[in-house]
Amino acid sequence: MAVRLSGVVFDPWQELSQQAANLPKGKHGACASFVGTMRDFNLGDTVQSMTLEHYPEMTQHFLDNTVAAACTRWDLIDCLIVHRYGDIRPGDAIVLIAAWSPHRAEAFDACHFLIEELKARAPFWKKETTDHSTRWVHDSTAD
């Protein structure tokens, strides 16, 4: 189980590859993953860049607890969460979630649970710079 906050660009596919390489072979039948990536548009405006502020100690604490909750609820072999903070450019990965399980439905459900909990409750705040302003994002739960 790993939860990592990154202040620099990360490659989600390489993170997945590395995490999977450390798992025992033949035990997991399924890996469900989600990658959230910065778009260059929001609410009709072109977005140039974004700053992701967070509350580091609480973020880590919250995500660790959320992973632990997922592990009690589903039969999971491993979970991985990586989340960016700081200055972000369009195309950059913002978040990676992955869940490995013997079974498909459990991997899917756990991955979905983790990203929904993160979006709804993890203490991150996006401030985006558009062509004509800098603004705090008010709601990104559906993105």
């Binding site: 509350y55 609480m58 604490h61 979006k119 203490p123 705040w125």
Partner: protein, 77 residues
């Protein structure tokens, strides 16, 4: 009683506060901490709070040494 009080994102900009140590007595709830720390600035309706890194409610009781944080609705992921 002493509290470490933090403000994040738009709430930090609005209150002009980020991270302060609050020495105060007769504070019972998180709401009391907001009022004292901000000198009774109005609190936006959607403000969230935490006690010692865990989501909390404004009516929750605070204790000496607590870290209390105030922040707007989260927008990560």
């Amino acid at each position: 009683m002493q509290f470490n009080v933090k403000f994040f994102a738009s709430l930090a900009e609005r209150t002009g506060l980020t991270d302060i140590t609050l020495d105060a007595h007769q504070l019972t709830t998180v709401a009391d901490v907001w009022d004292r720390a901000t000198d009774h600035q109005s609190r936006p309706a959607n403000t969230l709070c935490s006690i010692n890194l865990v989501h909390a409610r404004f009516e929750d009781h605070v204790h000496d040494g607590d870290e209390i944080a105030f922040f707007p609705p989260v927008t990560g992921g």
